[in-house]
């Protein structure tokens, strides 16, 4: 960053440093770099914000990561067709997933995660065998899931993955908790999905750059200025496969098992929460060449690459 770190770095890898007009707490969670920007000069406030956000990120990751052997998602995915009763927070997330499925006409589907394992988006030319895809598709479809608002049951071999909006949910949750602890304008950013809560003391807006997918980590293509609101970006031009002379991106249609064609390389949406922004961005990507029309119809503020 612009200035050398003025604060000692603790051993766990999270630390506070001076950012551009604010203090920034940094840590790693959900396999992403995370940061909390705090409109303050007091490092104690920044450290408190950092601790609060980090704790919440770790809690959500532990509870909902598909990769943990001890959480509710694991339990649901390994219930062998039996119903699993869930707590209130999980129920809310499943309700949200059900609405997304409905709103998208079945394109946004938390049971479609297995498809991603069939595809290797490494810029090569390999596509899955049609047979393998057919077998996978048999185990995909929220319509095969029984969800009554308290317990979930799904056929054996199916699995859910809340990764499609888990990070965005964590951002909104962490921001709410940080705001309760630290009475300052803040911005919480987990791996590029963020929410800001202003206004800042000097009246200036938070300034957010949209990363250039061709030069990750180095340059901003576009700039967004906000006081309050959530911003999320979906899509990654670096992840694609070449097939039939076409470049297929990594957004998969859960009904065909094939990548959605014709969408923008990446979509960034500004909405009132990070969860809303992230979901709109993902739905736009699933609309393929209709992405822009979809976003216009939603009245969303958006940026495309």
């Amino acid at each position: 960053m612009a200035a050398p770190t003025p604060f000692p770095r603790p051993a766990d890898g999270s630390f506070v440093e001076r950012g551009d007009g604010c203090l920034v707490g940094r840590f790693k969670a959900m396999a992403s770099p995370c940061e909390v920007l705090v409109d303050t000069d007091d490092p104690h406030e920044a450290a408190l914000a950092l601790r609060t956000a980090e704790t919440e990120a770790q809690r959500i990751e532990a509870k909902f990561s598909r990769y943990r052997p001890d959480n509710i998602v694991h339990k649901i995915n390994h219930a062998g067709g039996e119903p699993v009763a869930v707590d209130a927070e999980t129920a809310q997330l499943l309700d949200f997933a059900a609405s997304c499925y409905e709103m998208s006409g079945g394109l946004f589907d938390i049971t479609s995660g297995a498809l991603r394992r069939a595809w290797t988006f490494d810029g090569g030319t390999r596509v899955p065998e049609p047979r393998a895809l057919r077998n996978l598709l048999e185990h995909i479809g929220w319509d095969k899931v029984r969800w009554d608002g308290a317990a979930i049951a799904m056929p054996e071999g199916m699995e859910i993955d809340l990764g499609g909006f888990g990070k965005e949910y964590a951002v909104d949750r962490a921001a709410a908790l940080v705001r309760a602890e630290v009475p300052r304008a803040i911005l919480v950013n987990f791996g590029g999905d963020l929410v800001a809560s202003g206004p800042k003391r000097d009246g200036r807006l938070w300034s957010v750059g949209i990363e250039d997918p061709d030069h990750p980590g180095t340059s901003a293509l576009y700039r967004i200025e906000i006081e309050t609101g959530g911003i999320a970006t979906s899509g990654d031009a670096r992840r694609f496969v070449l097939w039939g002379g076409k470049r297929l991106g990594h957004i998969l249609n859960p009904r065909t098992g094939w990548p959605v064609e014709g969408g923008p390389r990446s979509v960034t949406v500004l909405a009132s929460t990070c969860l809303e922004a992230g979901t709109l961005a993902t739905l736009a990507q699933l609309a393929g060449r209709g992405a822009r029309a979809f976003l216009e119809a939603q009245g969303a503020r958006y940026w495309t690459v």
Partner: protein, 440 residues
């Protein structure tokens, strides 16, 4: 396709005009044919062209011409273009700089954090950090090979014909063409009427497929896109006095097919702030009718030759342009000359040219932000030096030119932060041509 207003036909048969034209020519001198036999002339040039921070071109050319005593001539030319560098994408300046760059905080609008599809929020070094007002560029590299052949046949002593063929190929473009020209001398051979025409069949095959116009870049298909070019010209040249020649040439060209630039984009902007919010591919009409009228005057002083021309161009895309070109050839001895050169070019923008579109507003039928269809001007200053090495055959020429390309980069329609930027920043261009011409 060479459909130039001058050629051996207009030079032959008119001694006064011939001297005038020959001396005025920038190209190496035409061979002095031995009346008893055929002459072979070889012209070789090397062009080096460079735009500051943008395109660089190296272009060697070889032309071989066989002139028969009858006036018949055959010529063949090979051109190789090696192009590299960066060219504007059409996008507007983003109005933003990266927060990770070590710039003074108050110098420019900065971002405090980043949104990204994956990762994000991270820092990292950067070789080149674009400034907020920098015109976005795309790197490219291409090589073009062009071949053409021309056959000139005097049919009677007042009537001549020229036929030509052309082929060129580069990574994503192919062109095949043929042209023909008839010339007729009358009024005591002091007046020449030229009629000509040409056809070209070009193909464009963008790497990565042809994008849907005015879209996010959706690939439409992988096939070749055809572009047909038909042209006709009529020219009249007249020797007014022994020292003074005037010619007027008009040409009309009709293009039909894929005329869009597949790699160029148009920015979408947020009207409140002027920051760019996205970009779409450009889209142009599929036909274009171009017309130009060029008037040339050559005046032969006692030893110096003045060459003055004006060209007016218009097309149905709304582009109008004027070119004024002035050269003065001054002999600096028996075997050398100096020729200063001034040129000014100015064009109006195409009807569908725009620096950017407002996000959320309906997208027009056609749109481009290609600066070559924008409100563009160039001013050129050059100097040519030609000389013979004593006791050696052939003539050497060296031409150096400085070109300033500029435009109206502060449109009234600029919004927000874009008002602070020059959307057509001046570009310094240098060009150097070395040529050698020999006949035997």
């Amino acid at each position: 396709m060479q459909l130039g207003p001058t050629g051996p036909a207009t030079i032959r048969g008119k001694l006064g005009a011939a001297a005038c034209m020959l001396l005025a020519s920038v190209a190496p001198a035409v061979a002095r044919a031995d009346p008893s036999g055929a002459v072979t002339q070889v012209d070789g040039t090397l062009l080096l062209y460079g735009e500051q921070s943008r395109t660089k071109v190296a272009e060697p050319t070889v032309r071989v011409t066989r002139l028969q005593p009858s006036g018949r001539s055959l010529s063949g030319q090979v051109v190789l273009d090696v192009m590299t560098g960066a060219t504007p994408t059409g996008a507007m300046p983003p109005g933003v700089v990266d927060s990770t760059a070590a710039l003074p905080p108050d110098e420019a609008p900065r971002v405090q954090t980043m949104t990204a599809a994956s990762g994000g929020g991270g820092g990292g070094g950067s070789e080149h950090v674009p400034g907020p007002g920098d015109i976005p560029l795309a790197q490219f590299h291409d090589t073009r090979v062009a071949l053409d052949a021309e056959w000139h046949e005097p049919i009677t002593n007042i009537f001549g014909s020229t036929l030509g063929g052309y082929y060129s190929r580069e990574k994503d473009y192919e062109s095949v063409g043929a042209s023909g020209k008839l010339s007729l001398d009358f009024l005591h051979k002091l007046t020449t009427l030229t009629l000509g025409g040409g056809v070209n069949r070009d193909h464009v095959f963008p790497s990565g497929g042809t994008p849907l116009p005015l879209s996010d870049g959706t690939v439409l298909h992988d096939e070749r896109n055809a572009k047909d070019v038909t042209s006709a010209l009529v020219g009249l040249s007249r020797v007014i006095t022994r020292r003074w020649l005037i010619s007027v040439n008009g040409s009309r060209t009709y293009e039909d097919g894929y005329l869009t630039e597949p790699y160029k984009v148009v920015s979408l902007i947020d009207p409140a702030t002027g920051y760019t919010t996205g970009q779409i591919t450009e889209g142009r009409p599929s036909t274009r009718q171009r017309t130009d009228v060029m008037t040339t005057m050559v005046y032969h002083f006692t030893s110096d030759v003045l060459h003055l021309s004006h060209r007016y161009y218009w097309d149905d895309w709304g582009v109008r342009s004027n070119t004024i070109d002035l050269k003065l050839r001054h002999d600096t001895g028996d075997s050398s000359f100096l020729q200063p050169h001034l040129r000014y070019y100015n064009q109006s923008q195409a009807d569908f040219f725009t620096f950017g579109l407002v996000q959320g507003e309906p997208v027009p039928t056609y749109a481009t932000s290609d600066y070559r269809l924008g409100p563009l001007s160039t001013a050129t200053v050059g100097l040519t030096y030609g000389f013979h090495v004593p006791e050696q055959p052939g003539e050497f020429t060296i031409r150096a030119e400085y070109i300033l390309q500029f435009g109206k980069g502060h449109p009234d329609t600029a919004m927000g932060v874009q008002q602070d930027f020059d959307l057509m920043p001046p570009v310094n261009i240098g060009s150097l041509v070395a040529g050698y011409s020999v006949a035997f």
